[in-house]
């Protein structure tokens, strides 16, 4: 059966994000990540945050919300800490794993983040 999407959709897959990745990587060594990519990440994180707040299935919901907030803050930095971003995504995945649709959404945003701000 199809799972609820919580209105979260950054595209069907990682393909578009990866297609933008080469440009993002070229930018990474010079200036801050492409603003549009960062805004996409922040927008999707906001949707995930809202979904987490309303889903009892998420483990340690308040901590999951803190992870999302930390991620949004970090990706906005001029020089994002990719290790911190990775660690936050790994933690967040662990918390939302009981809710499959949310886990899928987090994985998609993580993939987008890796392409926009660079892999850790």
């Amino acid at each position: 059966m199809s799972q609820p999407t919580y209105g979260i959709s950054i595209g069907r897959d990682n393909h578009g994000a990866v297609a933008a990745g080469d440009h993002a990587r070229a930018v990474r060594n010079t200036v801050a990540p492409a603003a549009a990519g960062v805004e996409s990440i922040v927008a999707e994180l906001a949707k995930i945050r809202a979904a987490i707040e309303h889903d009892d299935g998420v483990t340690d919901r308040h901590k999951a919300v803190r992870d999302v907030d930390a991620l949004a803050d970090e990706v906005r930095q001029e020089d994002p800490d990719t290790d911190a971003i990775r660690a936050a995504f790994v933690r967040l995945i662990g918390r939302v794993r009981p809710v499959a649709a949310l886990a899928t959404a987090v994985y998609q945003v993580w993939a987008l983040a890796e392409n926009v701000v660079g892999g850790a």
Binding site: D13, A103, Y107, Q108, E114, G118
Partner: protein, 217 residues
């Protein structure tokens, strides 16, 4: 003929001649499942061609059709709620980016998701593949302990499945990691890999062992 095609044909007849159009959604789902399997299989064949070309010393370029096939299969499996299929397709999407595109930096979420989906589906083979490739991403990022743990978990799964050629392949990867980090005995690992490759008829893996001996010294 595949059972799902037969089912779809019967449902078509039931709808057209019997007026039973309530089965058409079932037919669609049956065909989606068939399409997903076929699409994934076709993607695999393209992937195998890519690997064969590389093994022959060529430098094949990226193949947009291959990734499109894997992504389409993933989309279909997800829409069907087929977690096992989604795990496999997600793994192959990651594999395309890591192996074909040579992108070692951004594939962790793809393989991590494949690992989790495979675990959910109870598909230890796909989980072993995802873990193996997660190990490569971790090794590339300098997280040697994580790489070692992921490879060990993958190898344990493969041993329990009796997937000897896969165990041999993992031992080659472990040998490279051991040589890189100074932890472990690369030569002993390659000896084990060679033995397993020989006993399982994994000639390609035997070739990797020889390459590794030359590279590691």
């Amino acid at each position: 003929m595949d059972d799902r095609l037969i089912e779809a044909r019967e449902l078509y007849h039931a709808a057209v001649f019997g007026g039973a159009d309530d089965g058409l959604d079932v037919a669609d789902r049956a065909l989606d499942g068939l399409e997903a399997d076929t699409t994934l299989a076709r993607g695999r064949i393209r992937h195998a061609r890519h690997l064969a070309a590389r093994a022959a010393g060529e430098q094949p370029g990226e193949d947009p059709t291959e990734i499109a096939l894997f992504e389409r299969a993933l989309e279909l499996y997800e829409s069907l709620g087929d977690t096992r299929g989604a795990a496999e397709a997600q793994f192959l999407v990651g594999c395309y980016h890591q192996v074909v595109r040579g992108d070692m930096d951004t594939t962790e979420p793809m393989f991590a998701r494949a690992r989790d989906l495979a675990a959910e589906a109870g598909d230890d083979l796909t989980r072993s593949y995802a873990l193996r490739h997660l190990a490569f991403t971790a090794q590339h990022a300098g997280r040697a302990d994580e790489a070692r743990a992921a490879l060990a978990e993958s190898t344990d799964l493969r041993r329990s499945l009796g997937f000897t050629a896969g165990v041999a392949a993992n031992l080659v990867a472990e040998a490279y990691l051991a040589a890189e980090t100074g932890a472990g005995d690369p030569s002993a690992l390659l000896d084990q890999a060679a033995t397993l490759a020989a006993t399982s008829g994994a000639h390609a893996v035997a070739g990797w062992v020889s390459e590794a001996r030359l590279a590691i010294g």
